[in-house]
Symmetry: C2
Subunit: 416 residues, 2 copies
């Protein structure tokens, strides 16, 4: 579409966009067939906008305008994408608030993405049913799509995902013969790991059809079909009781309006004597995900402040035992994913198209940046029923030799 605007108008839009980034060392440049319109400033990285529609979209809604323009190829980055995103994050441009019109539009979007039972199914399908083949290109072989735990920063992704699963199992102190419910089980790696290595039986829930099918096949291949049941259903329909309730990376899709119900589900599962773990992306303060992320990548997603997530547990008198923040581990996990994704970009483009590749590059790079700069956090919360008496005396057992820990009973019977 040829540009009909005057350079004056375009300069004003550029000025507005530039002003949103404060002192960040970024130069915004507009170029169409008429020539180049740079903004005069000491530059480090350059954002080249090659389309007037994108320029207008950027000025009206910077998050979505930037994301969509980058994906469409009408925004090109001169310099390093991660460094540019870090500078954008620090400048606050990625988190600014807009005017009335934008806020009304956001309300509508939020309503459209509400996590009702039907809404959740639609939202989850949008992201997780992109085909298993796609995720196989850049996740680890077990398809674990949540933050890993790197015992040291140089650990491999595979080792770090293994360590994460062990960390979760040990934090909830699984013992052979116990029953576990997992809410939001992805492709089933953790459920299978728990059954195989900790001798527990697992009922694992997920509303993504493709993931559940994959998980069932893996359990069958491992000979664990009797020990792990994969159930294609919403967490709100979880029934039955268990000794430990575990949820890794589902809370982001629950939505704070459903925390009360999730708490009720957990309480009817473990009662006052069980224990559980919630692993989720969080925030220092209540704030929605980037608008672009919610629009294009994760409809309906919300990362709560820790105080908000505690509203799931508090009404049921659950006792918070341990909270750990692993945000740098998620940044490291995303470094691995982004690197693998880049290596597979050609294949991804064949599966989808170049716009999809750019959108996902931006999503992965933006998430990496958000965890690095602290715009996002990763919390693991361990909790116990109000009447549970078997609480570890200290957390030392988590950091000792694993085989030693597994063999020893580390329970303290605090009361007679």
């Amino acid at each position: 579409m040829p540009s009909n605007g005057t350079p004056h108008f375009e300069r004003r839009l550029l000025n507005k966009i530039q002003s949103l980034t404060g002192d960040a060392p970024i130069r915004f440049v507009f170029q169409d067939e008429k020539g180049v319109l740079p903004f005069q400033k000491e530059p480090v990285d350059t954002v080249l906008i090659t389309d007037r529609k994108t320029l207008v979209a950027m000025a009206l809604n910077p998050e979505v305008g930037f994301g969509d323009g980058y994906a469409a190829g009408t925004i090109r980055i001169g310099g390093d994408l991660i460094r540019l995103l870090e500078n954008l994050f620090y400048s606050g441009a990625a988190t600014g608030r807009g005017g009335l019109y934008r806020r009304l539009w956001e309300r509508w979007q939020d309503w459209r993405q509400a996590n009702t039972r039907e809404g959740s199914a639609r939202n989850i399908h949008h992201h997780y049913d992109l085909t298993n083949e796609f995720y196989k290109l850049w996740l680890d072989p077990r398809l674990i799509y949540t933050c890993a735990y790197f015992p040291s920063p140089s650990a491999t992704l595979e080792d770090a995902q293994q360590a994460k699963m062990d960390f979760v199992c040990r934090k909830v102190q699984l013992r052979p013969g116990e029953r576990v419910i997992e809410a939001g089980c992805g492709w089933g790696a953790l459920a299978i790991h728990m059954a195989k290595n900790y001798g527990v039986s697992v009922r694992a829930f997920n509303i993504s059809k493709e993931q559940i099918q994959f998980a069932r096949e893996r359990a069958k291949a491992e000979g664990l079909s009797n020990q792990v049941e994969f159930i294609e259903d919403d967490y709100r329909n979880i029934s039955g009781t268990c000794d430990a309730f575990v949820s890794v990376g589902m809370l982001e899709h629950v939505g704070s309006e459903n925390y009360k119900e999730l708490g009720a589900v957990i309480h009817r599962s473990i009662g006052n004597t069980g224990r559980g773990l919630l692993h989720f992306i969080g925030r220092n303060q209540p704030r929605p995900f980037s608008r672009w992320i919610r629009k294009r990548i994760f409809p309906g997603a919300y990362a709560p402040a820790l105080s908000e997530a505690l509203q799931i547990l508090q009404p049921w008198n659950f006792s918070i035992q341990d909270v750990e923040n692993l945000r740098f581990h998620y940044a490291k996990t995303l470094e691995h994913w982004l690197s693998r994704f880049e290596n597979a970009a050609g294949e991804v483009e064949k599966m989808f198209d170049a716009e999809f590749v750019r959108a996902w590059r931006l999503y992965l790079a933006g998430s990496l940046t958000a965890f690095r700069v602290g715009s996002l956090q990763l919390f693991q919360v361990v909790f116990a029923g109000s009447e549970r008496k078997q609480i570890p005396w200290t957390r030392e057992y988590l950091y000792r030799d694993e085989t030693q820990t597994r063999e020893e009973s580390r329970w303290i019977h605090a009361m007679s």
Copy 2:
């Protein structure tokens, strides 16, 4: 005072008191000069009420009536006090809600104990200025009046208090030359420990005159007067900046109405790049301390739910790094204190009187019980400014050999 009531009236009061305890294996018995009025039930422990005024008080306000009656000696326990208190806690009798009259009276009490600057001074004086000689009879030699950390349950109290101070220093990763502000420093043990063993300079605040005097003398005797400054002032008057903000056992006396101001104090101390630790008695759910404890022992005290305490940090975009629940360590600490207190009961009675001894026995035993059964929790919360980049990669360093940890740099510079 001779009883003029009919046995029928007294029986009704006993019935009411007994009904509050549900199925708890406790028998309430009334005995005055006219004879004995037992309630028929399979007994384990017996509560003997020997005064009609106490019987009425118990029926109207069980918490205060029981506490005051026990202290006055008009309630006597047949059996084990701790076991009886545990049964009372589990029965819910210690936490029940009363009628309108009682709630109005409670409002008035709360108002009278409000933690304004003047109110805090009065409330703190009530408890902490009972004379240092009193606390020397049953605390450890350094007079540490907060939850210890027992590396193993059999550690001595002295070793456990030493371990607690090291645990706090290592959780905030103190390094030589850094500046620390401590809010609510008790008799100064932690401030002196930090200066002596971690090479930091400390400004420590407290509004208890007796404690500050004692702390200053100790710092002088240790030759640390240049490194540790003890300031007799309210936490709201803390000025200046520091690298780490530490508060151990003060939050209970702050009152949730002042959390916003405490957060502002912390933020102006450490800014966006420092870190801090809050160590405090908490709850699974918002709920006031026992009425008797607030009336007789800790006026103005409040133990927050974790979600409430996070309201101190959230407005300032602080990042929660680590939360640990050490409630069994407080139960163990209280076992030591109660045992020492019993050994010194004769001397305490000479300092005060028999009623004081009974009141403090009940306070220590009741607190012990509350931590055991989970009515109270003990939280250590480690947090960092939103722009802090030096975050430990894992928590493993907390559990490795101490000398090794101190020598090694355990910092991960997460960003270039």
